[in-house]
């Protein structure tokens, strides 16, 4: 598996944002909105014989399912429009972590959800974080995000965290309370609000709020594909996450 760059990327310690299909598609929705909202350009994709022969067609244009974007200065975004199957997860994570190492990011920011049973009754989902370096922790202290105190991580984001840690790549992982297998754009909004505050990236969230219902309908298919991978025991949340 390898990262194909369209032009070789020269950026001074960028922030890398990751949105993979997972709990409530919180990361997928947040990062693809970020890409649209600040008009990032596609700079590459992930290629491998291990990936299913799948291409997407958007407005007559052929797209790879796992793509990289950049704002040209200090932000890179990685999104996947297909769930990363557990059988290829390790391979995938190793190759992107190697690529990250070369790009030498200031911080890798992963965005995902933490499923809560009573999500229906929560108006403002809480955001929890795990930071692996002091810079990320201090960024988070300026926000209302809470430290993820205790629990078990499982799945794609856990693998990324592990791969980055072993290569000394600083990471920040955001976990927003969300639905498990319903797309949850309102959880994505909370995560982006935290990032707006911490990194001053000024993403206008109004359109995401207005379009939330349509996004939920459009994201049904990806949610369904992702669902089977969420069935395994993944993240055992402590009572902190409730209410």
């Amino acid at each position: 598996m390898k990262v194909v760059e369209y032009d070789s990327i020269k950026m001074e310690s960028p922030y890398i944002f990751i949105g993979l299909p997972d709990v409530g598609l919180v990361g997928s929705i947040a990062v693809s909105y970020m890409i649209d909202s600040i008009k990032m350009a596609e700079i590459g994709h992930v290629e491998s014989d291990l990936l299913p022969p799948l291409l997407l067609v958007r407005n007559g244009e052929v797209k790879n399912p796992i793509r990289l974007y950049s704002n040209g200065s200090n932000m890179i975004a990685l999104i996947s429009e297909m769930p990363i199957h557990p059988s290829i997860l390790q391979e995938f994570v190793t190759s992107i972590a190697e690529w990250f190492k070369r790009v030498n990011p200031r911080l890798v920011v992963s965005i995902t959800g933490v499923p809560v049973q009573n999500r229906l009754n929560i108006d403002k989902p809480k955001v929890f974080y795990i930071a692996t370096d002091e810079h990320a922790s201090s960024l988070m202290r300026s926000t209302h995000a809470l430290v993820f105190e205790e629990g078990i991580l499982f799945g794609a984001y856990a693998a990324i965290l592990k791969a980055c840690m072993s290569r000394d790549i600083p990471t920040l992982t955001l976990f927003t309370q969300s639905h498990l297998n319903f797309p949850d754009p309102f959880a994505s909004i909370e995560a982006l609000e935290v990032l707006n505050k911490a990194l001053n990236i000024g993403i206008d969230l109004n359109e995401l709020r207005e379009e939330a219902e349509m996004i939920r309908i459009r994201a049904r298919e990806l949610m369904k594909q992702t669902e089977s991978m969420l069935a395994e025991p993944r993240l055992k949340a402590t009572p902190t996450f409730y209410g």
């Binding site: 299913p52 799948l54 297909m82 769930p83 199957h85 059988s87 229906l120 639905h179 498990l180 297998n181 319903f182 797309p183 309102f186 939330a212 219902e213 349509m214 939920r216 309908i217 049904r220 298919e221 949610m223 369904k224 594909q225 089977s228």
Partner: protein, 153 residues
């Protein structure tokens, strides 16, 4: 790994073939396994999410159970609350709802949700309760008690 009778028979003939046949066979088998793994990964979607003929979306659904209830949660964004029709029998919940707008997928316009949900336990449909909030419908159906008392001697 499962193997069909035919495959097993061919396996037995293995000694008579040259190494290239064996490799080719292994390659074919590997591909079949990969195809199977990936088809379950990307394909088993459409039937459950759309009824193209009837132009209906099948909502994403979550079914859970407590000791005395079956809880069915359906994601129906853009559904019009007044239009929601809910019916239940002892073992099936049926829902139908109109959307407040038309949604187009692959040049087909959808305006309704509909789904019948097979329940994991027998319920008392008369005592079911439902709530609708932020485009999510939750139906709680009390389980039917069908046992007899056991006394402790």
């Amino acid at each position: 790994m499962e193997m069909s009778g035919e495959e097993r028979k061919r396996e037995g003939e293995g000694e008579g073939r040259d190494i290239f046949d064996v490799i080719e066979e292994m390659d074919r088998r590997m591909r079949r396994i990969m195809e199977r793994a990936f088809s379950s990964m990307i394909m088993d979607v459409d039937e459950q999410l759309y009824d193209i003929e009837r132009r209906e979306l099948k909502p994403l659904t979550q079914i859970s159970e407590t000791d005395d209830e079956v809880i069915v949660t359906l994601d129906i964004p853009c559904a019009n609350k007044e239009s929601i029709e809910l019916k239940a029998t002892e073992d099936t919940l049926f829902i139908r709802a109109r959307m407040d707008r038309c949604v187009t997928f692959s040049n087909v316009e959808f305006e309704n949700y509909s789904k019948s949900v097979r329940l994991p336990a027998r319920v008392e449909p008369r005592y079911a309760r439902a709530s609708f909030r932020n485009g999510i419908l939750q139906v709680r159906l009390p389980k039917k008690f069908e046992g007899s008392e056991i006394s402790i001697e």
